[in-house]
C-alpha cells in the first residue's frame, strides 16, 4: 500500500494553524504559529485526517505526497 508524507510550502504558508488543529497527530505549531511537521510517513489509518488538513489549508500550502523511493540524488 502506498504511504504518504506531509509537507508544507513555507513560502505559501501564512501560519493560520488549521493544520495543527485538524491533524495534531503529526503537526505542531512553533512559538510563532508555523507548522512543524513530523517527517514520518503517514499510514492508512491517519490518511483521512491528513487529507482533511490539506483540504482545509486556506493558502493551499499543505501537501500530501506519495512517498517516493529515496534515490542517491535527493
Amino acid at each position: 500500500m502506498a504511504r504518504h508524507t506531509l509537507s508544507v510550502d513555507p513560502i505559501a504558508c501564512d501560519g493560520r494553524g488549521l493544520c495543527a488543529e485538524l491533524f495534531p497527530e503529526r503537526v505542531e505549531l512553533d512559538e510563532w504559529g508555523y507548522p512543524i511537521i513530523d517527517a514520518e510517513a503517514i499510514g492508512p489509518e491517519l490518511e483521512k485526517h491528513a487529507r482533511r488538513a490539506v483540504a482545509a489549508c486556506p493558502t493551499l500550502a499543505l501537501r500530501l505526497q506519495r512517498e517516493t523511493v529515496r534515490s542517491g540524488h535527493r
Partner: protein, 414 residues
C-alpha cells in the same frame, strides 16, 4: 624553472592584473593566455580537473554541466556574480579586473551546452561596468552576452532567486524542485555558475586538467580565491593552493596583527572555528568537516583576542535576520528571535533564556524554501561552541569583555 614548477606557480586567476588597477583588456588577456580556441569535450576536461563550485556549495562543476546538458531544450548560461556575502570580495575582483577570464569560461560552457544566451548577473556598479566594457570588446560567434543588475542583498545569489529575477519576478528564492537545471530562465534548463568557477574553466580549457591539478590535493585540486579580513596586515583577496595551512594564509596577507582566537570560515554563512583547531587544519573541506565547517564562499575572518565572539555573532545574526527574503515564517520570525536573544545578551538585559535559545536553534533548520535560515543557525551554533566561556559569562549577566570595535566586516546597514 622546470615545467613542474611552472605548473605550480601562483597566482593563476590573478596573474597579470594591472598594477594601476585598470581592467585587463581583451588584447592583454589574449597576450597572456592566448585567444579563446574551440575546445573538444569541455565537460570531460572539467571532470578530469576535479573543479568544484567556488560560490559556496562546492558541487562538482562537471556534474552541474552534465545535469544541464542531459535536459531537453536549448540551455541558458547564467554567470552568478551576485556575491551577496558581505565578507566576500573575490568575484568582484575577477569581474572588475579580469572580466575576460570569466566571460571566456561562460562562453566555453555555453558552447559545450549548445546555449546561445549568456547572462551575467552582478550587483555592484563597478563589476557591471567592467563586464559591459569587456562584452563590447568581444566577438563570440553565436553567443549573445547580456547583463543584469541584481539587488545588492544576501539572498540575491541564491540560484533560484537569480532565475526568478531574470524571468521578471522578485530576486528571492523559490521553492525547489524545480531547480534551475530543470527549469530556469524562460523555462529552459539553466546553468547558474559562480564567477570564479567559470574563470577556472577558462584556464582548464587552455592549460588542461593536469595543469589544474598540479596544485591542491588529489581530492581537492586547484587554487582558490580567498577573501581574508579581520586582524591581518593587509585584508583582501588572495589566491592560494587548496590545502595550505591557516598560518600560510595569514602570511599571504602580511601576517596577523594580533593573537588570533578564532576564525570565521565561509563568511556569514560560515562556521566559527577555534584557533587551536585551525592550527592543525588545512584549508580543505576534508580537514574542516570534523570541525563542522566548509570553505563555503571562501571568506575567512581572523578574530583577534580581545574581541568578543558573542558580540560579533550577534551583529552577524542581526544582519542575517534582516536579510531574510521575508517569505517563510520560520526564517522571518526565527532569525529575528535569535538575533534578539543575542543582542540582549550583549546588552546585558535580563530574560535571555538559554534553553529557549537552544530550542529555537533546533526547530528552524530545514523549514525555509532556501538554506538561509539553516546557515544562520549553523553560524550561531558554532559560536555557542567556540565561544562557550564568553557565552556563559554573558548568560550570567556579566559584562562584555570585548573591545567593542567590530571585526567582522559589515556592508552598510539598511
Amino acid at each position: 624553472m622546470d615545467d613542474r614548477a611552472a605548473e605550480r606557480r601562483l597566482p593563476r586567476l590573478l596573474a597579470g592584473l594591472r598594477s594601476d588597477g585598470m581592467t585587463v583588456s581583451l588584447d592583454m588577456h589574449a597576450r597572456r593566455h592566448g585567444r579563446l580556441e574551440p575546445v573538444r569535450d569541455l565537460i570531460s576536461l572539467v571532470e578530469q580537473s576535479g573543479l568544484t563550485g567556488r560560490g559556496g556549495g562546492a558541487f562538482p562543476a562537471a556534474s552541474k554541466l552534465d545535469a544541464v546538458r542531459s535536459r531537453r531544450g536549448r540551455p541558458v548560461v547564467v554567470v552568478n556574480g551576485a556575491e551577496g556575502e558581505p565578507a566576500s570580495g573575490k568575484d568582484k575582483v575577477l569581474l572588475v579586473y579580469a572580466p575576460h577570464l570569466v566571460l571566456d569560461g561562460a562562453v566555453l560552457a555555453a558552447r559545450a551546452l549548445g546555449a546561445r544566451d549568456v547572462i551575467v548577473a552582478t550587483a555592484s556598479r563597478g563589476a557591471g561596468a567592467a563586464v559591459a566594457a569587456a562584452a563590447a570588446e568581444r566577438r563570440d560567434t553565436g553567443i549573445s552576452l547580456q547583463r543584469v543588475t541584481v539587488p545588492d542583498r544576501f539572498v540575491a545569489g541564491e540560484e533560484t532567486a537569480l532565475v526568478q529575477f531574470i524571468n521578471g519576478g522578485a530576486c528571492l528564492p523559490t521553492l525547489t524542485p524545480p531547480r534551475p537545471f530543470e527549469r530556469g530562465v524562460g523555462g529552459a534548463p539553466t546553468l547558474v555558475q559562480n564567477v570564479e568557477t567559470l574563470a577556472h574553466v577558462a584556464l582548464i580549457a587552455r592549460y588542461g586538467p593536469q595543469w589544474f591539478r598540479a596544485v591542491g590535493t588529489p581530492e581537492e585540486p586547484g587554487s582558490t580565491l580567498v577573501t581574508l579580513s579581520g586582524a591581518v596586515q593587509d585584508p583582501g583577496v588572495y589566491e592560494i593552493p587548496l590545502g595550505v595551512s591557516f598560518d600560510e594564509l595569514l602570511d599571504e596577507a602580511g601576517g596577523a596583527i594580533a593573537e588570533i582566537q578564532a576564525f570565521l570560515v565561509g563568511g556569514y554563512f560560515g562556521t566559527w572555528i577555534d584557533a587551536a583547531d585551525a592550527a592543525s587544519a588545512r584549508l580543505l573541506d576534508a580537514d574542516l568537516a570534523p570541525l563542522r565547517a566548509t570553505l563555503g564562499a571562501r571568506a575567512i575572518i581572523a578574530l583577534p583576542k580581545g574581541a568578543c565572539g558573542v558580540a560579533e555573532t550577534a551583529r552577524v545574526a542581526r544582519y542575517l535576520a534582516a536579510e531574510s527574503a521575508g517569505q517563510c515564517g520560520p526564517c522571518v520570525h526565527g532569525l529575528a528571535a535569535i538575533a534578539d536573544d543575542l543582542s540582549q545578551l550583549v546588552a546585558r538585559r535580563a530574560g535571555v533564556d538559554e534553553q529557549r535559545l537552544h530550542r529555537r536553534l533546533g526547530i528552524i533548520p530545514g523549514r525555509g524554501a532556501c538554506r538561509h535560515p539553516d546557515g544562520a543557525v549553523r553560524l550561531v551554533r558554532s559560536a555557542l561552541d567556540v565561544f562557550a566561556p564568553e557565552f556563559a559569562r554573558h548568560f550570567r549577566g556579566g559584562s562584555c569583555t570585548g573591545t567593542g570595535r567590530p571585526v567582522v566586516p559589515m556592508k552598510k546597514e539598511r
